[in-house]
Structures are given as C-alpha cells and as structure tokens.
Amino acid sequence: MQSVAAGSESAVHEKNSRLRKLQALGILSGFTAGAWLGAAEAPTKLVSAGVSPIVISLIMVIGVFLARWSLPALILGTSSIRADLRRTPHLIIWALLAGCIWAVANTMTIFAIRDIGLSIAFPLWNSNSLLGILWGFIFFNELRSAGWRRWAGVLGGALVMCAGAALLAIASSTQAPAAHSMRGVWAALGAGILWGTMYIPYRKAYLSGMNPLSFVTFFTFGELGMMAALAISYLGLAPLWQELTRARDVLFWLMLGGFVWVIGDVFQQYAAKYVGISRGIPLSNTNQFWGMLWGIFVFGELRGSGSSTYAQVIGGSLLMITGVGAIAFSSAGGTEQGQWKAAARRESRRYRIAEDYVDARMQGKQVEGEVRPPRTWLDWTLVAGSTAVFVAFAAMARAPILSFHWVPALLLVLATFALFLFCGFALWRTTRFN
C-alpha cells in the first residue's frame, strides 16, 4: 500500500518536474527567437537601396519557403510530417490562414521601416503581444486560475510595454519625414494586430498536439501564395519580373533574411507551445531589443538626431524590455496548466483527436509505442534543392552599398549563434524536437 502511494507520488513529482523543465525551455526558446527574428529584419534595410517593398517581401518569403521545407525535412523528416497531418488534417486550414496573415504583416513592416525606421517600427509592431495576451485568455484559457501575482506580472508588464511603445511613437515624429510618419505608424500597428492574431492558429495547433516543425511546412504555402498574389496585383507580372531582374544583386541577402527569420520563427513556435501565447509572444518580442542593436550599431540609424530622440528611443525600448521581463517571470502554475488541458480537451473533442496523443505531445513526448519514421530520399532532395538555390543566388550576389559597421555585426552574429546552439541542444535533449 505504502509502495503504491510512494510510486504515485514519484510519478506526480516527475510530471511536475518535467512541466517546469518545459516552461524553462519555452522561455529560453522565446529569447532565442527574439535574437534570430531581430537579425532577420536587418536585410530589409535594403529598402533604402531602391528596391520596392513588395519585391523585398516576396523574395524574403521565397527564402522562407525554402527554409520551411528544408529545415523540417532535415530535423524531423517528411514522413513524420505526414503522420502528424493524418492525425490533425483540419489544421492545414489554420496553417494556410496564418501564413497569409504573416505575408500581409511582413509587407506592412517593410513600409513601416521605410517610413519611420527600424528602431522605431520594431516596438510599434511588437504591440502584438498585448493582443496575444487577450486571445490567449479568451480562446485558450491562458491566465485562468493564475492568481493575482501572475496577472499583475502579465498585465503590469503589458502596460509598461504600452508606455514604451508610446514613447517610441513620439520619437518617430521627430525622426521620420512628416508626410509619411503616420503611414509608417499605421503600417507598424497593422502588422502588430496581424501578428498578434496569427498566434491563434499557432496555439490551436499545439493544443492539438501538432509538432511545430509540421505546422510551419503548410503555413508557408499560405505565405508564398498570399505574397505572390500581392506582388502580382500591386505591381503586375511584367514590372515585377523587371524589378526582380534589376535587383538580382541583392536577392540573395533578402532570401537569407527569410531563412534567418524561419530559424527565429521555429524557436517562437516552441515558445508558443511550451509557455503559451500570452507569455511566448512577449518573450520573442525581445527581437525589438536585437533590432535596435542592429539598427543603431550596425546600420548607424538615428545618426545626427538630437539627444532627446536617443533618450526617447532608448528609454522606450528599456520600458518595453522591463515589461517583457515581468511577463516572462510570471510562468504558468499547476492550476493554470489544468486550464490549458481543458482547452486542449476542447480541441480533442471538437476535431476527434486522440487525447493520449495530445497529452503526450503537450509534454514534448511521443505517444507510447509511436516510432518516428526514418528520413527518406525526399528529405535529402529537399535539403539539397534548397541549398542549390541559395548557392545559385549567392553566386549572383553583391554586397549592397550601405553604411555598415562590421565589428558590431560580427559580435551580434556570434551572440545569435551561441543562443541557437544552446537552445537547440536543450530542445533536442528534452523533447527530441517534439
């Protein structure tokens, strides 16, 4: 009798310990996502080199498309993706919808960067975290039964972030040309609303047990389809082709930006899976901090501005980071996680998904007896094909003539890779990328 009770106690302890480990992993994934998403925005500075925002977005999305098929094929294998899809076929619709939202938001960010600058636009579209908290609470039971401390951490953090965003919006009116500053602000806020809502499909997928690497492969069809439609409808096929030909020297850098974005997004997906969207989005929004570092130190943004503009941008960014920190350290407790499970059961019942599958995947595990299929020739073909496309574009590329400071760029690249290796290893060790 005593040994049964001890065994049960040990199982509960083990489960709680794993949940704590997964929460820490989610927080680490969010920070790593921030570094990579911030680095990915740097190539959009090429707007000042006279390339149309629509073309920039389209080329980035082509890079994203290649990365979203080759990386999952390399890490997981297409057979595993197919197996995931057979269990949750309805999620294809949400993946496509989220991909379309991403493409529209990304195009808006390029208008925003052109009109108000990277260091100002970033924090504005990062208002998406406020919306993420709202959707997480309404739709996925996040912050339910969370206790007043966690509520204070998340809501207090959100309010501090609002104050930071407002400070940065004021700074934008002194930095940007008056004729376009409001257009830039609207574009950045629009991107924030779109991205904040895009996390509804993300969270739904992970409460249904889908592997983040499977979700992104279908997501990318929405991205590429929507972006191609936008480019053709706004520019026309012949002018689009002419622009692409004219910009062939810089296409590689934009595709590389898309590739880097995908790496950040994959970590963001794991953050959304293990800490939920109300905390995962603010964490990955530390890309604002990284974007500011790239903008100011590598591209020399804000050069020649008055000291008050610097004070507003730095103060606003620090306020936003303080808010993010408060949210990050309000991780979900046992009762709130019980609410997450109730949200997951809703998905299981509505779409008839096996509960043991959902439960195992939420713990970053495979279902008992489930064997991960081996990689096939298709996986290696996808990896080789994507690599060949990148090499071909790299051969055509030339370094754009921009104000660029190499030493801070190198330091930022090293820091970004260090986070990648550390978090990637932790994810592999704990979940085998489940």
């Binding site: 309805h90 919808l97 939202i101 609303i193 739904k204 779409y351």
Partner: protein, 41 residues
C-alpha cells in the same frame, strides 16, 4: 494499439471548422489587414 489517426468524415470536419470562432477571428483580421495595406500602398 488504438489508432490515433483522425478518420472523421470530411463534411463533419468542414462544419467544425466553419463554426469555430478560432477560424473567423483570424480570417476577419486578415481581411482588415488587406484593406489597410491597400490604403497605405
């Protein structure tokens, strides 16, 4: 071992999707985003 695959009828699946608020909120935001993009372009 019981199958974990989803074998429900396509019609039921579509009904579940189209009556799910998780579908309509992102869809409405996407349409709003396209309108905003057109106005700032």
């Amino acid at each position: 071992m019981p199958s974990t695959e989803n074998n429900e009828l396509p019609r039921g699946r579509w009904t579940s999707v189209l009556t799910d608020v998780h579908f309509w909120v992102p869809f409405a935001v996407l349409i709003g985003g396209l309108i905003l993009l057109k106005s700032i372009h």
